[in-house]
């Protein structure tokens, strides 16, 4: 039997009236909450999971807390995984308000992928209790089509089950929630600068002109698995000290291995003709180079290291000659070669170009300080900023920084920081050197990894060579 055609069962005016009443009721009896849409960073389409996600935005909106008698769910439960707080809560949000105020913002941020309705997996921060809830289910048909329309979304939520999602909404109250929750590394910084600037002096020679100023690579060859030996024809002077020496630098790109350049370690002297340069060994063939001889007086024959320095974990800026500044001459182009020994030190200074010579006074050598010392200890880390290890490239967020005890706590690291490297703040530029890392000491009280490890260190004989216990 058809419905009575004399009744409309809901006109748009009636629907709008109800919607307005609903909106008003929620505004009067609801609470302000923050809606945090989930941004999916990486989705595993095979296993059907979101591997990485972040919450970068927050939108304030009023919602009615339907659970007026407190949380639902099982409450605080003791499990084999520690305390599990299974609190449920139900929010009711006006459909119109959500679609008018939040949906457009979602569209502007996420484009066509944005959902115009509240979405399962998104978060709601309730300032009243300072807790984060995850939407488990969005009920959109309750009450069921009153006057042919639905006016609210009912959001069935549960206290958030946190993993390592990035929460960076720029609201300190929300962002601080997780700063102590994830697994935090405690890093103790050095109170003193670690590293020392190396020193060197130019070995100046005033006469016996005719030195190998440069070696030009004519053919870089191929197949050089190891560094080939560079032999330069001896000087006609007949003394070993008069002979020029040089070393090759190899380069590997994919499977191709060739000679990249040849650097002079000793220019020699007394060359009257261009000496022959031979490149041999290293497992490769084809590399060829030609020496360039300069006949002027007063040049830098070689660079002697007087102090290897320390802290040179990365290649420092090129050493340079600061004095004398004779107009018209070309200064040497130098390369510092570092070694990892002694926490990173200068092993040798080689010359790409020994310069034109013609100095009137003893040239003065300057080696740059290690990058690890540049700007060290000049600022303070800021909460939640990203910090990066200068050598490891690992990044993490700052959970806390205690300059008095030089303790930095970070979370959500993307790799392993290295002892001895500097950690640099992305916003503040703060830079300190790592003295000790308490590896991933969890701030989560449940975690007893470190306690177990320390107890086991006293019991287990790790020196035992056990073929069935190799790890």
């Amino acid at each position: 039997m058809p419905t009575n055609p004399l009744f409309l069962h809901g006109t748009s005016d009636e629907q709008n009236l109800i919607q307005d009443l609903v909106n008003e009721q929620i505004r009067m009896f609801g609470s302000d909450v923050f809606y945090l849409p989930r941004k999916i960073i990486n989705k595993d389409t095979i296993l059907g999971e979101v591997e990485s996600s972040s919450f970068d935005n927050r939108f304030i909106i009023e919602m009615f807390i339907a659970s007026d008698e407190g949380y639902g769910g099982a409450g605080d439960v003791m499990t084999k995984f520690g305390l599990n707080i299974k609190d449920d809560i139900t929010f009711v949000v006006s459909r119109e308000r959500f679609e008018l105020f939040i949906s457009p913002m979602l569209l502007s941020i996420y484009g066509s992928n944005a959902s115009l309705r509240p979405r399962e997996g998104d978060l709601i921060y309730l300032p009243l209790v300072r807790r984060l809830f995850e939407i488990k289910f969005v009920e959109h048909e309750k009450p069921f089509y009153q006057l042919k329309k639905n006016y609210v979304y009912e959001l069935q939520c549960e206290l958030y089950e946190y993993q390592d999602e990035e929460i960076d909404t720029s609201d300190q109250n929300i962002d601080d929630i997780v700063k102590d929750v994830p697994y935090v590394e405690m890093i103790l910084m050095n109170t003193d600068a670690v590293g020392a600037t190396g020193q060197a002096e130019a070995v100046f020679i005033e006469n016996n002109p005719g030195f190998v100023r440069q070696i030009v690579l004519n053919n870089d060859g191929n197949g050089y698995d190891t560094t080939p030996i560079v032999s330069i024809e001896p000087s006609p002077v007949g003394l070993a000290t008069a002979n020029a020496t040089a070393v090759a630098v190899t380069r590997k790109v994919g499977d191709a291995k060739s000679v990249e350049e040849i650097l002079i370690t000793n220019t020699g002297y007394g060359y009257t003709t261009i000496p022959t340069v031979t490149i041999s060994g290293g497992g490769g063939v084809g590399a060829a180079a030609t020496a360039v001889v300069q006949e002027s007086d007063n040049w830098i024959k070689q660079i002697a290291i007087t102090n290897s320095g320390s802290g040179y974990r990365t290649q420092p800026a090129a050493p340079f000659i600061t004095d004398p500044d004779v107009s018209g001459n070309t200064k040497p182009s130098l390369v510092a070669i570092t070694t990892t020994s002694g926490g990173g030190s200068i092993f040798e200074i080689r010359m790409r170009d020994a310069g034109s010579g013609g100095y009137t006074n003893q040239p003065i050598m300057t080696i740059n300080e290690p990058f690890s010392l540049v700007g060290l200890g000049t600022a303070e880390y800021k909460l939640s900023e990203v910090v990066t290890g200068e050598v490891s490239g690992a990044t993490a967020f700052v959970a806390s920084w205690d300059i008095n005890n030089m303790q930095l706590r970070v979370y959500s690291s993307t790799g392993d920081f290295l002892q001895g490297e500097n950690i640099v703040g992305s916003e503040t530029g703060a830079k300190y050197n790592i003295n000790l890392i308490a590896k991933h000491a969890a701030s989560e009280p449940y975690s007893k990894n470190d306690e177990i490890e320390q107890a086991a260190d006293l019991l287990i004989d790790f020196s035992e060579d056990n073929p069935f216990g190799t790890y």
Partner: protein, 277 residues
């Protein structure tokens, strides 16, 4: 009846040794380009705990903002059983490195359960894959079971089986629970009481023989005495005599002197006075 107090903490040590195998497991997440976005150590704890302690430690200020942090692992001892296959003679002893005589330990199997709770299946697979290759099917740790004697034993920990629970079906009011359970058996040994002093040397044995069995009237008539006989000059007096006898140590190479004495004095040996009366 069983006697004196001792506690070597062997079961506790076995629990710790088992737990520490898994305390460096990490889980990594990447973005769509494969760059690592986070790398975290998986929290590990011994499952059973006093409830009040768990509450005051894990929800100190009653305002825990999240339900739980994942992934995490827990382990617990689930059983202890005697292992008859490793049984040795109950009277057999061995000498510890410091000379103490120790009865052979009793072989016991301790069962453990390792539970892995993750939010993502991929996390669970990362964790399980970091564990399984080391168990073929056992992984052996060398454990200092009894510190006072320096007794280190290889304890194989055998992976018995793996099961998992993935409650992904059902309505949306319940959350998916993804739990892997790995069952292990640690083949440990339990030691009895250990003597506080090192093994001694019996320096003299007397055997008295009687003419009849009356405990009232019988007197010893023959005494057979055995004493260790030195084979080297301990006191450096140039000769090997009975003077060297007190210096003989357990483990030295020595002989025995036997002496048989006949009595007709009607006396008996008094153990309390250490003389014939």
């Amino acid at each position: 009846m069983l006697g004196s107090y001792f506690y070597h903490q062997i079961l506790r040590k076995t629990i710790i040794a088992f737990g520490t195998i898994f305390n460096d497991i990490e889980v990594c997440h990447t973005d769509s380009s494969g760059n690592v976005t986070s790398k975290n150590r998986v929290a590990l704890s011994y499952g059973p705990a006093q409830k009040f302690l768990a509450r005051i430690e894990q929800q100190k200020n009653l305002a825990k903002p999240v339900q739980i942090t994942l992934p995490r692992m827990s382990f617990e001892q689930t059983g202890i059983s005697y292992d008859a296959t490793r049984k040795s003679s109950v009277t057999q002893t061995f000498k510890a490195s410091d000379g103490k005589k120790v009865f052979m330990p009793v072989p016991y199997n301790v069962d453990f359960e390792l539970n892995i709770f993750t939010k993502l299946n991929d996390d669970a697979l990362q964790i399980v894959e970091q564990i399984l290759p080391y168990f073929q099917p056992s992984f052996t740790v060398t454990l200092d079971l009894v510190e006072s004697i320096g007794e280190k034993r290889d304890i194989p920990i055998i992976l018995n089986n793996i099961s998992f629970q993935d409650d992904y079906e059902g309505d949306f009011s319940t959350r998916r629970a993804l739990i892997y359970t790995l069952n292990f058996t640690a083949k440990t040994y339990l030691f009895g009481p250990i003597a506080s002093s090192v093994e001694g040397l019996i320096r003299k044995v007397n055997v008295d023989m009687y003419g009849n069995t009356s405990i009232k009237t019988a007197t010893r008539e023959v005494r057979y005495t055995v004493q260790p006989e030195p084979k080297k000059d301990y006191n450096n007096d140039g000769e090997i005599t009975v003077e060297d006898r007190p210096f003989i140590q357990p483990g030295d190479d020595f002989g025995f002197s036997e002496e048989t004495t006949f009595f007709q004095d009607g006396r008996n040996f008094s153990p309390t006075q250490q003389s014939d009366i």
